[in-house]
């Protein structure tokens, strides 16, 4: 066989943002100019987003070689060395069969079920998905399994919903199956509301067929012929890839009438959200598909009984569906080998914040937070001190260092006051202020409250006002108690999960970082040096050489001083952006 070379460039949203398209263009030009035969492909997120732009070369000589931290300007040299001189430039390699690579360990700690194709296949090619076992599970289900068999298999696997609450998926399907109706719906929740999380986006962009196959199997199991994918408005690339995937699946006869010769019909539509966090809540989401304002409604009735247009509906998260085909193909038992007693399988996390190897990771349930952060994530940027890790976004909480050995499973995480959530994991160091974090999340939920319940609408606003005051140095004795009291009332008086969980970020930070609240309130200081109103930028007379760099960096002209003379900051004008501190090469600007 002829020497075959495949070159893959990571073109998920963040690959593109990091300059992936420029790299792709350079590779194309190179291949043309040097008349090298190679298959050039796009792939999705491989998970090493911190090392973007990423390019993988697969060939006979070296197997798979992944290059990282690329710039369009590096491409010429790397390709010449690899393809022509056959002497790869190892300093650009991040993971490789032959050369190890500095990042190999990170992948070794992971278990890839949901992400097994992400960054490996071209998401726009259904053939590559099929090559890797895709749609085998669908065939198996249609040929050899009854709906009840499928439901039993999913139940046995122990799969729980990955959208946040962790409800057992098999049981949910069972409920929808049990309700007889002339019409049933299957919905995929791809609203991914947690700000700062991108697991679902990466899966949709990197392996859309995996989601479709899971939905098809769910539809077969509950007896539905119509599905919707409700995708977040900010994910245009995911929407595009899903639409392509649906078209291709239709051509192959996996979606449509009489699928694979059976009497199972299924039609699937992608529906774009319109930017409302509350629409991630299942009842609001269905209202939105119906074309109405996305306001949650009281449950029961649950969607399995009366969902979209009043019909029985099964709604699951993207990642939940992404586990299904693997379970059917490999068996529930094998799936249940991963994880803990009550949390089976793996969980995908978007690891971000002050972490060295930020990106997308998939780990077996039960791994400790410490291992996720230090082994998989490589630890804290600049080796600073770890302070907290936030899970579950606006519904979740901050977990302190003392609880880092908590295993990642639904029940252990809930015990800390945080939640598993959908997979956002934001790492914070000693420069992050915990009161400010609480304020940040409350600002978000307050803004996103649909306004239906008084406590959620007004209560979050009151809490935000208090937190704003505290971070501005105007906190008063009794504020902490007021926050706790309001929290209780909001949890009790809210109809949907948004309100019921909104106080969590505040409660967990009070629980674990009460001293920081007290420092703001009693001493009017921010220990992390993050709260703008409590810090001041100043220029040290003895260090300033009058180079003027800070003056040029300052957008509001707050800095004055003649060349070669000591500069000063006018505190009345300064907006505390810190640009001067970054600009000064002589450590003359300090924050106090």
């Amino acid at each position: 066989m002829e020497n075959s070379v495949r070159i893959k460039v990571g073109l998920a949203s963040c690959g593109i943002a990091a300059g992936g398209l420029d790299v792709l263009e350079k590779v194309e030009a190179f291949l043309k100019e040097h008349d090298v035969k190679a298959q050039l492909e796009h792939t999705g997120c491989i998970g090493m987003c911190y090392a973007e732009v990423l390019m993988e070369i697969e060939d006979d000589e070296f197997g798979s070689t992944m290059y990282g931290y690329l710039n369009a300007v590096d491409i010429e040299d790397i390709l010449t060395a690899h393809l022509i001189e056959k002497k790869p430039l190892t300093e650009h390699i991040v993971v490789s069969d032959k050369f190890g690579g500095k990042e190999k360990e990170i992948l070794d700690y992971q278990t890839r079920i949901v992400l097994r194709n992400c960054g490996v296949i071209n998401p726009e090619s259904i053939d590559e998905y099929i090559e890797r076992g895709g749609y085998e599970a669908l065939q198996k289900v249609i040929k050899d399994m009854s709906p009840v068999d499928v439901i039993d298999e999913i139940k046995e696997s122990g799969l729980r919903g990955r959208g946040g609450a962790g409800f057992p998926t098999g049981l949910k399907w069972q409920f929808a199956y049990n309700n007889y109706a002339d019409k049933k719906y299957v919905i995929c929740n791809a609203d991914e509301g947690d700000p700062g999380a991108f697991m679902d986006r990466s899966v949709l962009e990197g392996d859309p067929h995996e989601v479709l196959e899971g939905m098809l199997i769910a539809a077969y199991a509950i007896g539905s012929d119509t599905g919707f994918i409700y995708c977040r408005a900010e994910y245009p690339l995911a929407v595009k890839r899903l639409r392509i995937a649906i078209e291709k699946a239709k051509e192959k006869g996996f979606i449509g009438k009489n699928i694979l010769g059976s009497d199972f019909d299924f039609d699937l539509t992608v529906y774009e959200g319109a930017g409302a966090f509350v629409c991630g809540e299942e009842t609001a989401l269905m209202k939105s598909i119906e074309g109405k304002r996305g306001m949650p409604t009281l449950r029961p009735p649950y969607p399995a009984e009366s969902g979209l247009w009043g019909k029985p509906t099964n709604i699951n998260n993207v990642e939940t569906y992404s586990n299904v085909a693997w379970i059917i193909r490999n068996g529930a038992k094998k799936y249940a080998d991963f994880g803990t007693e009550k949390s089976k399988g793996t969980k995908v996390f978007a690891l971000t914040g002050k972490i060295k190897n930020g990106g997308l990771v998939e780990v077996p349930m039960g791994m400790t937070l410490r291992d996720v952060i230090y082994k998989v994530g490589g630890g804290i940027i600049d080796n600073r001190k770890f302070k907290a890790v936030q899970l579950g976004g606006p519904s979740g909480g901050c977990i302190p260092e003392s609880l880092l050995d908590t295993p990642v499973d639904y029940d252990s995480l809930t015990k800390t006051g945080a939640i598993m959530g959908s997979g956002g994991m934001v790492v914070m160091d000693d420069t992050t202020c915990m009161v400010d974090m609480a304020r940040f999340f409350l600002n978000f939920t307050q803004d996103e409250s649909c306004g239906k319940c008084t406590f959620c609408r007004i209560g979050t606003k009151r809490m935000l006002e208090i937190l704003n005051r505290i971070t501005q140095g105007k906190g008063e004795k009794g504020d902490i108690e007021k926050l706790e009291d309001l929290s209780k009332k909001i949890i009790k008086g809210s109809l949907c999960g948004l309100g019921q969980t909104a106080p969590n970020p505040v409660l967990t930070t009070i629980k674990y970082f009460r001293d920081e609240y007290e420092a703001h309130i009693n001493d009017k200081t921010c220990p992390a040096g993050a709260c703008k109103d409590l810090v001041k930028y100043e220029i040290l007379e003895d260090k300033c050489i009058g180079c003027g760099a800070c003056k040029r960096a300052c957008l509001v002209d707050a800095i004055s001083g003649e060349k070669k003379e000591v500069h000063t900051i006018n505190q009345d004008i300064c907006i505390k952006c810190g640009a001067c501190m970054t600009a000064c090469k002589f450590d003359a600007v300090i924050k106090s």
Partner: protein
């Protein structure tokens, strides 16, 4: 609105004719065509679809994606997701607002830029991130803002 704008809305309406619950996609597509949803456009949609104007306004104001005012030539979206917040996004916004002399959500006097704050653009590992039209700029510091704006 000019004649051709009505034609554009007609095309959108035809595409969704007879589909259940199509109001949101109709508004999305109209906005994509016209840049924003004017009073006239909403009234026209109401007339054609027989959905009461009040209901259309209710939906258009509920979802943050819909704009009821004209926008600038370039849209700047500043990420205020968690990862970007932790990476100092507020300083980026302040620098931007200061430089453009606008308020959050506002449009510059010369109609060149509209600035919106959004929650997570999905490139958290490059935080803090802003997006100008379709191009994302990551790993920002306040001092880079001037240079970026100068490109537009």
């Amino acid at each position: 609105m000019v004649e051709s704008d009505f034609d554009k809305i007609d095309v959108v309406l035809r595409e969704f004719e007879g589909r259940k619950g199509a109001l949101i996609p109709i508004l999305q597509n109209t906005q994509a065509q016209l840049g924003f949803l004017s009073k006239e456009a909403l009234e026209y949609i109401s007339e054609k679809t027989k959905i009461p104007v009040s209901e259309i306004y209710g939906v258009a104001t509920f979802y943050t994606q819909f704009r009821l005012h004209p926008i600038g030539k370039n849209i700047i979206r500043i990420c205020h997701g968690t990862a970007c917040h932790v990476a100092n996004a507020p300083k980026i916004s302040e620098a931007l607002y200061e430089e453009l002399k606008v308020e959050p959500g506002g449009t510059t006097k010369d109609l060149k830029f509209t600035v919106e704050e959004v929650a997570c653009l999905g490139c958290c590992s490059l935080a803090p991130v802003i997006m100008v039209n379709d191009k994302a700029y990551g790993r920002l510091t306040p001092d880079k803002i001037k240079d970026i704006l100068a490109q537009y």
